[in-house]
Structures are given as C-alpha cells and as structure tokens.
C-alpha cells in the first residue's frame, strides 16, 4: 500500500463523512461550507487519479464559484424572510 493509496482512502472516507454532515447540518450555511470542503477533497482525489484537468475545474467551480453563489443566495433568502 503506497502513500497515495492511503491519502486517497483517507480523502474518500472524509468525503463520505462530510457528505453525511452536510445532509444533517442544522444550519443551511454549514451545509454549504461542508459541500465546499467536500469539493476540496474531491480535488485531492482527482489529482491522485491523474486527472489534473478535472481537478482544476473542480477547484475553481466546485469549491469557489458555486460556494459563493450558494452563500449569496442564502443571504438573499434570509433578507426575504426565510429560514437560513
């Protein structure tokens, strides 16, 4: 078992844990942050699987822009009187 195997197993199981945490989080804001962390770990997995193109796209879109758009949407919902 090489170091890369261990890293990918740890990253993969942490992704599952973060996914469950995101589903069960009390606040929607925490869900967004958990999903962002999950995308960051997905980037690690993609690099280990030798797919740097996918990793770059996931890093920019998955954990950058999508998180920002989710956060702004949450704030907008809060302002309109919804629960967040």
């Amino acid at each position: 078992m090489t170091v890369l195997d261990i890293i990918s197993i740890v990253a993969g199981s942490l992704m599952v844990v973060l996914g469950v945490l995101a589903l069960n989080a009390k606040k929607l804001f925490n869900t967004v942050i958990y999903l962002s962390m999950m995308s960051m770990l997905a980037v690690v997995c993609f690099v280990i699987m030798r797919a740097p193109d996918v990793a770059i796209t996931e890093a920019v879109i998955g954990s950058g822009l999508v998180t920002a758009l989710f956060v702004f949407t949450l704030f907008a919902g809060k302002k309109a009187g919804g629960k967040a």
Binding site: D53, T57, V60, L65, A68, L69, T73, F75
Partner: protein, 251 residues
C-alpha cells in the same frame, strides 16, 4: 427512520452499480484497472493521434504536423475530435446564463453586504486581481499544452471579478460589454466551425497547420477555440455573479 431508509437506498444503488460493473456477462464486462485491451477502444486512437491511420510515434517537442497537434490529450479530444460536444456544453452554459438573466433582469443596484469591505481586503484584492486575471488567461492560452483550458480559465476570470465585487461596494460589471464579448465569442466559435466545412470538409475540422507538438503556437484552431471559450465563459459567469450580487430597484 429516515436515515436508515436513506442508508439502505444508497447501499442498494451501490450494489446495483457494483454488480453491473463486475458481474455481468463477458461482452458488457467492465475490466479491472490495467486489464483493458486498449486496441478495442477508440480512445487509444485519440491518444496516439492515429484516427486517420498514421502510425508514427508522437514525441513531445519533435513531432510535426500530427493529426491533432495538442500535447494535452484531454484537449485534443475535447476541442479537436469531439469539438461538437464542446459547442453543446457552451450552449448549455449560455442557456443557464440566459435563465439567470431573464429571472434577474430590470433596473438593479448593488446589494448591501453585511460587513463593509475593510482595508486589508481592499488592498489585497488590488494585488491579487491582476495575478488572477493573468493566470486565467494563461490557463486558456496554454490549454493545449498544460492541464486546464477554456472552462477553468474563464471560471478563474469570473472568480477574480467576484473578488472585485466583494472588495468594492460600488463596483459593477458593464453588462452590455459582457454581453457583447459573450455573443461575439460564441458566434466566432460557430464561424470557426463553418470555416472548417468550407476549408476542410467537416464542421469544426482543424483547418490550420498543426505545427510542432508542445509549442505555444501549434495545433491549428485549438488555441483559437479555447480563447473564444475562455472569453465566453468568463463574461457569462461574470454576468451571473452580477445578477446574484445586485437587487432590484423598487418602484
């Protein structure tokens, strides 16, 4: 209860996928890693750049006038062999940006963020903004050599625009300029495809000389198409970000 049901559902789907991949009959079998006979697959031809039957080995920095001159084989599939799919992807992104534009239209002003941007954010954004834009442009100009390409490059440019939005209360993208860049780049992509019909016989065919594998100016239309995609994605995502960070003016 809900959680137990969901865990059971996930397990059932997992068993389904696993059995479909590993226990089906010989013709549909999904081979284990390393045991695939690549000669049966079309992807081998894309990697060797031998769809038209040339048998020479491709060597980085030496091979000239290869079938698809891109050193990054993902790019050579995405923008050369399967460029039509990429045109479809760009269209999907365009339609989604159009949807955001339709829902969030009208006279708008900047939304008040909870905290006003502080000194460190303002000065830091000034430094990082230029680096991010240059990195995004590098990403799509070098898309045929290094990992990356038009989509991530455009998304990095949009992220730098987002940084400007966060660090300045008054900043807004000129939406008319973004629309102009977007529509020009989109139509130029289709025009490149039509030029392929006229000059080489097929839609989106690579009609320029492909040069030496691994040089910046090589591989024909690939850098041009990736530049167009980068500009299009960057301006589209910037206008989406503008839609999310502004609110309608009442009355």
């Amino acid at each position: 209860m809900k959680q137990i049901v969901s865990i059971l559902l996930v397990a059932a789907i997992g068993i389904l996928i696993f059995s479909a991949l590993y226990f089906s009959d010989e013709t549909l079998k999904f081979n284990e890693y390393g045991n695939v006979n690549l000669d049966d697959r079309v992807s081998e031809k894309y990697i060797d750049k031998s769809v038209n039957g040339n048998t020479e080995e491709i060597i980085f920095g030496e091979t000239q006038n290869a079938e698809s001159g891109s050193a990054n084989m993902v790019t050579s599939v995405v923008v050369n062999y399967r460029s039509f799919d990429t045109l479809g992807e760009v269209t999907v992104l365009f339609v989604s940006a159009l949807g955001v534009g339709l829902l969030l239209n009208g006279k708008r002003k900047r939304k008040n963020l909870k905290d006003a941007p502080n000194f460190i954010l303002k000065q830091g954004a000034r430094i990082i903004f230029g680096i991010m834009v240059v990195f995004g442009v590098y990403m799509f100009i070098h898309g045929h050599i290094t990992p990356g390409g038009g989509f991530p490059g455009g998304a990095i440019i949009a992220a730098s625009i987002l940084l400007l939005y966060l660090s300045d209360d008054e900043f807004r993208v000129k939406l008319s300029a973004a629309k102009a860049v977007e529509s020009t780049a989109g139509s130029l992509y289709v025009i490149v495809g039509l030029l392929g019909i006229v000059l080489a016989g097929y839609f989106l065919q690579n009609f320029l000389p492909t040069g030496t594998v691994g040089e910046v100016i090589s591989s024909g239309v690939i850098p041009i198409v990736y530049m167009l995609i980068g500009l299009k994605v960057g301006s589209e995502l910037s206008s989406v970000i503008d839609g999310f960070l502004t609110e309608e003016v009442e009355g």
